[in-house]
C-alpha cells in the first residue's frame, strides 16, 4: 500500500483513493509538473532580458502575463502542493495514525487544485502575482483577471481544508502515547504553518471578493475614482502573503530537520529550540506585513513597529540555522543527494535572511524598494531555501515512493548545477537592484552594467534549466529502471529507513 509504483495499479485506483500516501503521490506528481512548466516561463523571462529591446516576446503585455503566471504557478501550484505532498506522506506516520483525520476532505482539497490551475494557466492574467489595484480593479483584461481571481479563490479554500486536516490529525489523532512535545519537528512545522494558513488566508479571500466586485463595477473598494484606496488592497494582500512566506519556508525547514540528523547520524541538537523557533516564527509572521509598504506614506511610528516586528524573525531563523550547525557538529555526515540539498538550502537561507535585514530597515528599504534587489531576495527564499529543501526531501522520499533508488551521481550533478545557477541569478539580481534596475520591466536602457548583469543571469538560468532537465530525466528513468532500493536502509546510514520503513506496517507502528 505504500510503495505505489512498485505494485502497479490502475491509475484510477490512485486517483480516486483517499489514502494519505495516494493523495501524497498525486500532490507530488502535480507539483512537479507545474514546477517544470513554471520553470520554462522563468527561462523565457531571463532569455528575453538577455539584452535591451524585444528578443522573442512580442510585447510588454505578453511579458507581464508570463511573469504573472510564473509567480502564481510556482507559489500556489508547486511549493504549496509539494509541502502538502510531504505532509500527506509523513504526518499520519509521524503521529502514528492510520490516515489523515478526514481522508475524503483530503482528497477534495487535492482535487480542487487542477481546476484552479486550469483557470490560472488558461486565463494567463497580466497583473503580477499579487494583482495590484487600481490596474487589476479597473483595466486588467477580462476574462483572464476573473479566471485568476477564481483560481486563487479555489486554491485558498483548498489550503484551508488541508490546514484543518493537518491540525486535527496532529492534535487529535496522534497516538495517546505520543506527547505533543515529542512530535518530530517536521510535524511541528506542519502544525505551525497550518495554523498560519487558518489565520491568514481568510483576509485574502475577502480581498479577492472585494477585487471581483470592484471589477464588476458594483463597488469601489480599491478604485480611487470611486473613493477607494488601492493601498488597502496591499494591506489585505500582505497580511495574508507575508505570513504565507512562512507557510512555505517552515515546512521546508521541517524537511531539513528530518534529513540533517539522519545523514549526520545524530539526533537533532535541540528539539525544544526548534519547536520554540517554529512557534515564534508563526507569531512574528503576522507582525511584519506592512514592511512591504514603507514607500506608501506610512507614519514613522507604523514603520518603526513593522521594522521591529520584521526583525523579530531574525532570532527565530537564526535558532534554526544554529540548530542545524550544532547537529552536524560531531556527527559523521554522509553527503548523499538529500543532505547536499539541505546544506545548500541552509547556506542560501542564511544569505536570504541577511538580505532581508537590509529590506526591513526602513531607510534602506527606500533604496531597494521595487528594484531587482527584491526579486533576488524573494527568490533566494523561495528557490534557494524552500525549493532546495523540497528537492532534497523528494530525493529522500524517492525510495519510499517508488521502491527504487535514483541515480546518485546525477542527483549530485543536479545539485551542483542548480546551486551555481541560483547564485549566479539571484545574487546578481541583488547587485542589479543596487544599480537601480526596476523589477517587472520588459525592456531596459543600454546601460553596460545592466546588460552585463542580465547576461550573467541568463547564463545562470540556462544552468538551472540544464539542471532541472537532468532532474526530470533522473526521476522518470529511475522510477522505471532504477536499482531496487534496500528498504531497510536505502541510503546506507546504518539504520532503518525510519518513518518510511515504519509505514510499511499498515498500522504505522
Amino acid at each position: 500500500m505504500v510503495l505505489e509504483l512498485q505494485k502497479p495499479r490502475p491509475i484510477w485506483q490512485i486517483m480516486f483513493s483517499t489514502h494519505h500516501t495516494d493523495i501524497g503521490l498525486l500532490y507530488t506528481i502535480m507539483s512537479l509538473a507545474f514546477l517544470f512548466m513554471g520553470g520554462a516561463l522563468a527561462l523565457a523571462i531571463r532569455v528575453e532580458m538577455f539584452s535591451p529591446g524585444p528578443q522573442f516576446i512580442a510585447d510588454s503585455m505578453t511579458f507581464n502575463r508570463i511573469f504573472t503566471v510564473h509567480g502564481t504557478n510556482m507559489i500556489f501550484l508547486f511549493l504549496l502542493p509539494f509541502a502538502s505532498a510531504v505532509g500527506n506522506y509523513f504526518i499520519p506516520i509521524m503521529v502514528r495514525y492510520k490516515d489523515m483525520a478526514y481522508p475524503k476532505l483530503n482528497a477534495i482539497a487535492f482535487w480542487m487544485l487542477p481546476p484552479a490551475a486550469a483557470l490560472v494557466w488558461l486565463g494567463f492574467a497580466d497583473f503580477g502575482w499579487y494583482a495590484q489595484p487600481p490596474y487589476s480593479a479597473i483595466s486588467a483584461p477580462s476574462p483572464a483577471a476573473e479566471m485568476w481571481i477564481f483560481g486563487l479563490k479555489i486554491i485558498g479554500v483548498s489550503s484551508i481544508l488541508g490546514a484543518i486536516n493537518f491540525i486535527v490529525t496532529i492534535l487529535k489523532c496522534k497516538h495517546p502515547d505520543l506527547p505533543l512535545s515529542k512530535v518530530p519537528l517536521l510535524g511541528w512545522s506542519f502544525l505551525s504553518s497550518s495554523l498560519i494558513v487558518l489565520v491568514a488566508i481568510p483576509t485574502f479571500a475577502a480581498a479577492l471578493l472585494m477585487l471581483l466586485t470592484d471589477r464588476l463595477g458594483v463597488t469601489g473598494f480599491f478604485n480611487p475614482a470611486m473613493g477607494g484606496d488601492p493601498i488597502a488592497y496591499s494591506h489585505l494582500f500582505w497580511f495574508t502573503f507575508h505570513p504565507e512566506v512562512y507557510v512555505l519556508v517552515i515546512p521546508a525547514i521541517g524537511m531539513m530537520y528530518e534529513i540533517i540528523p539522519r545523514f549526520s547520524r545524530k539526533p537533532i541538537f535541540s528539539h525544544s529550540s526548534g519547536v520554540f523557533a517554529f512557534v515564534l516564527l508563526s507569531i512574528v509572521s503576522f507582525a511584519s506585513w506592512a514592511h512591504h509598504m514603507y514607500a506608501t506614506g506610512m507614519s514613522f511610528t507604523e514603520k518603526t513597529v513593522f521594522m521591529v516586528g520584521t526583525l523579530a524573525a531574525v532570532p527565530a531563523s537564526a535558532m534554526h540555522v544554529f540548530n542545524f550547525l550544532a547537529t552536524m557538529w560531531g556527527g559523521r555526515a554522509k553527503y548523499s543527494t538529500p543532505m547536499m540539498w539541505s546544506v545548500g538550502g541552509i547556506a542560501l537561507f542564511f544569505s536570504a535572511g541577511a538580505g532581508g535585514v537590509v529590506n526591513t530597515a526602513m531607510p534602506l528599504d527606500f533604496i531597494t524598494h521595487d528594484s531587482y534587489w527584491v526579486v533576488g531576495h524573494f527568490h533566494l527564499f523561495v528557490f534557494g531555501t524552500i525549493a532546495f529543501g523540497s528537492f532534497g526531501f523528494l530525493y529522500y522520499m524517492f525510495p519510499f515512493i517508488t521502491g527504487r533508488m535514483y541515480n546518485e551521481l546525477w542527483g549530485k550533478v543536479h545539485f551542483v548545477l542548480i546551486f551555481i545557477g541560483a547564485v549566479l541569478v539571484f545574487f546578481t539580481q541583488h547587485i542589479l537592484g543596487l544599480y537601480g534596475m526596476p523589477r517587472r520591466v520588459f525592456d531596459y536602457p543600454e546601460i553596460p552594467e545592466w546588460i552585463a548583469m542580465n547576461q550573467i543571469q541568463a547564463v545562470g538560468a540556462v544552468l538551472l534549466g540544464v539542471g532541472m532537465t537532468i532532474f526530470l530525466v533522473n526521476l522518470i528513468y529511475s522510477s522505471a529502471k532504477g536499482k531496487e532500493a534496500n528498504m531497510e536502509d536505502p541510503f546506507g546510514l546504518g539504520g532503518k529507513y525510519y518513518y518510511p520503513y515504519q509505514a510499511k506496517n499498515p498500522h504505522h507502528d
Binding site: 523579530a312 559523521r332 525510519y498
Partner: protein, 89 residues
C-alpha cells in the same frame, strides 16, 4: 535555552538601535538638515559590513563542519548513537 534567547535578544538590539538612531537623526526642528542620501548609504554599508562579517563566520563554520565531520574524513569516528537503535525512530 535561556542563554540562547538572551544572546539573540542582545544581537537583535545591536542591529535595531543603530537603525532607529539614524531614522531619528532627521529631526523635526527647522534648520536641522542632514543629507539623507549620504546617511542612508552609510547605514547600508555599515549593515552590509555586519552582514558580511556574520555571513563569513557562519558560512565558514558551515564549510568547516562539512569538511571536518564528513564520513570520509580520516578522523571521522562513529557517533555514540550509531548501533544503539536510537536513530531508528
Amino acid at each position: 535555552m535561556k542563554n540562547i534567547i538572551g544572546l539573540f535578544m542582545v544581537l537583535s538590539i545591536l542591529v535595531i538601535l543603530p537603525t532607529v538612531q539614524i531614522v531619528f537623526a532627521a529631526g523635526d526642528e527647522a534648520g536641522e538638515y542632514i543629507d539623507r542620501r549620504v546617511e542612508i548609504w552609510n547605514l547600508f554599508f555599515r549593515m552590509m559590513t555586519v552582514a558580511f562579517v556574520v555571513g563569513a563566520v557562519v558560512s565558514g563554520t558551515l564549510i568547516w563542519l562539512i569538511w571536518r565531520f564528513r564520513e570520509s574524513n580520516p578522523k571521522a569516528t562513529p557517533t555514540k548513537y550509531e548501533g544503539t537503535g536510537e536513530l531508528d525512530r
